[in-house]
């Protein structure tokens, strides 16, 4: 990895070199990803799975090669278990509507945690309203952890599905996914992990985790926006009802009867985001070229550095102090509201996120309206965190 690989870093913001600390919202893209996407439009511009001409063959091969890359990235058994979607959000909605909805009824339960992103709350609220099932929430601790005994205490034969994030976007907490899956399975429930924030930071192995479904987004993994992956165990994906219907997901159509394609095409109706998927392939290559274990180790060092540096600022309180975390530093300051913090540090060229991070229940749990959040990507350095700390001292001076 070289910082020069990321063209977005070659700019100044408000006259200062850009310090990008908002990778949990979306990661910057390396040149290899940008080139892969533009290459599709500039050269291999064709629809996939349809024509025999050369361009279509090239596009189809690159598209399906990404499916293999995603399979290997997740440690899945088969490419049939890799469904391309528009993002984590669509992956979760697909499971909610195509798999859960036909199976849920009054008396059934879906279990989530108090640490979820709205995209792992609202689809379950909707499917529960549609089916009469009940949504149950596992509370979180002051450190921002989901205690396993609290999960276990809510698991019984009524729970059909446990849907939890693998890593929290608001606080950076890493869940013990393997143990959650074990507990869920022991109670006869299936388990879905929202891996949007895990995929960029952790080595993943869906078979070792024994995940039934696993979702992530390309854009947080240094890939393009508008592309995501849903992993599902083959038998479970096969149980899904059609999610969307139309071209590509059928085998044959007459006005009397339509037969469906096999997996994964069955769950991928219509022309997909071809360039985006191919860009995801380039992103996976880029990340694997460095190695997730290497990235993880580097990031943990930086996280420790940042945690200490921020903790040394008077009147600053870190929100989310779990034992296992990725590079997310959420905080509030006595001196200023997160929104004011965001504007002032932006004037120093430092990009952080402020707000509720699509996790309003988490904010409510801590009794705060919002946090400021610095989140790390592979291009960040200790100097970036030093720049943040300097900017936060400026906040304190201004509001002193």
């Amino acid at each position: 990895m070289r910082r020069e690989d990321f063209p977005a870093l070659e700019q100044t913001v408000q006259g200062e070199p850009l310090v990008y600390l908002d990778s949990a919202a979306t990661a910057l893209k390396p040149r290899a990803v940008i080139d892969a996407v533009t290459g599709v439009y500039a050269r291999d511009c064709a629809n996939i799975h349809r024509a025999v001409h050369t361009l279509s063959q090239r596009a189809t091969q690159a598209f399906e090669a990404t499916r293999e890359k995603a399979r290997a990235f997740l440690g899945a058994e088969s490419t049939d278990e890799i469904v391309f979607t528009s993002g984590t959000t669509e992956s979760i909605n697909l499971v909610a509507q195509a798999w859960a909805r036909p199976r849920l009824g009054p008396g059934d339960r879906v279990l989530i945690s108090g640490l979820e992103h709205h995209s792992n709350i609202v689809p379950w609220q909707i499917v529960c309203a549609q089916t009469g099932a009940e949504l149950v929430v596992v509370p979180i601790t002051d450190e921002g952890e989901v205690p396993l005994e609290q999960v276990e205490a809510r698991l019984d034969e009524r729970v059909r599905l446990v849907a939890m994030n693998h890593v929290s976007n608001a606080l950076g907490t890493v869940q013990d996914a393997a143990e959650i899956a074990r507990l869920a399975h022991a109670a006869g429930a299936k388990v879905l992990f929202d891996g949007a924030q895990a995929a960029p930071h952790l080595p993943l192995d869906v078979r070792a985790l024994d995940a039934d479904f696993y979702a992530f987004s390309a854009h947080k993994l240094y890939g393009p926006t508008g592309v995501g992956v849903l992993y599902g165990k083959r038998a479970l994906l096969a149980e899904c009802e059609p999610y969307q219907s139309g071209g590509d997901m059928i085998r044959s159509v007459t006005f009397e009867k339509t037969t469906y394609a096999s997996l994964p095409a069955y769950l991928e109706a219509g022309t997909p985001n071809i360039a985006g998927v191919i860009g995801l392939g380039a992103a996976i290559d880029y990340v694997e070229g460095i190695g997730r274990a290497t990235l993880h180790a580097r990031e943990q060092d930086l996280l420790r550095y940042g945690t200490e540096a921020l903790s040394s600022i008077e009147g600053l309180r870190l929100i989310g102090t779990a034992k296992r975390k990725v590079g997310v530093l959420s905080f509030v300051m006595d001196a200023a509201h997160p929104h004011d913090i965001g504007t002032i540090v932006d004037a120093k060229g430092v990009a952080i996120r402020t707000g509720h991070h699509c996790a309003q229940p988490v904010m409510e749990r801590f009794g705060i309206p919002a946090t400021a959040r610095a989140s790390l990507g592979m291009y960040n350095t200790p100097e970036d965190l030093d720049a943040l700390v300097r900017a936060l001292h400026e906040v304190r001076r201004m509001f002193a």
């Binding site: 004011d340 004037a347 309206p369 509001f399």
Partner: protein, 147 residues
């Protein structure tokens, strides 16, 4: 940085920290609730209107410096004004912070310190939350959200 100083003038920082008319009104005739879900800012605005005149106006809630200072200045500016004047000032304020017009400094008076908001499009919602809440309160709408 100079744009930042324009936004966070001493006056704004002062009203952000020590908002004026930050209280409840006994026997208020009008009430509005404002909420900006993106940043969690909340405001409750109360008015005591006699005939067409705003006899008292006050607010409570929690928000960033810009939204708090804006609410504080709004209450100071509108105290004793008619509802028609309040509506006109709302219009002038909106077009100023959205950068749509050269500010009408006479009509805006102290509110002109918020002219710098126009350079920060992401903060317009903060500056206007109190005003949209006012509008809802005097037009009798339920609650407003800006985001």
């Amino acid at each position: 940085m100079s744009e930042l100083r324009e936004l966070y003038q001493e006056y704004v920082l002062d009203h952000g920290k020590r908002p004026r008319n930050f209280r409840a009104i006994e026997g208020a005739t009008h009430r509005g609730e404002g909420y900006n879900p993106l940043c969690g800012d909340r405001i409750t605005l109360q008015l005591l209107v006699e005939g067409d005149v705003i006899r008292d106006i006050a607010f409570s809630g929690a928000g960033c410096a810009i939204s708090t200072a804006s609410a504080s200045t709004m209450t100071e500016t509108l105290m004793g004004k008619t509802l028609a004047e309040a509506r006109a000032t709302f219009g002038a304020f909106l077009s100023m912070v959205k950068g749509e017009a050269e500010p009408d400094y006479d009509a805006l008076d102290k509110l002109a310190v918020f002219a710098g908001v126009a350079e920060f499009p992401m903060r317009v919602k903060c500056a206007t939350l109190a005003w949209h809440t006012l509008n809802a309160a005097i037009e009798g709408a339920e609650a407003v959200t800006t985001e």
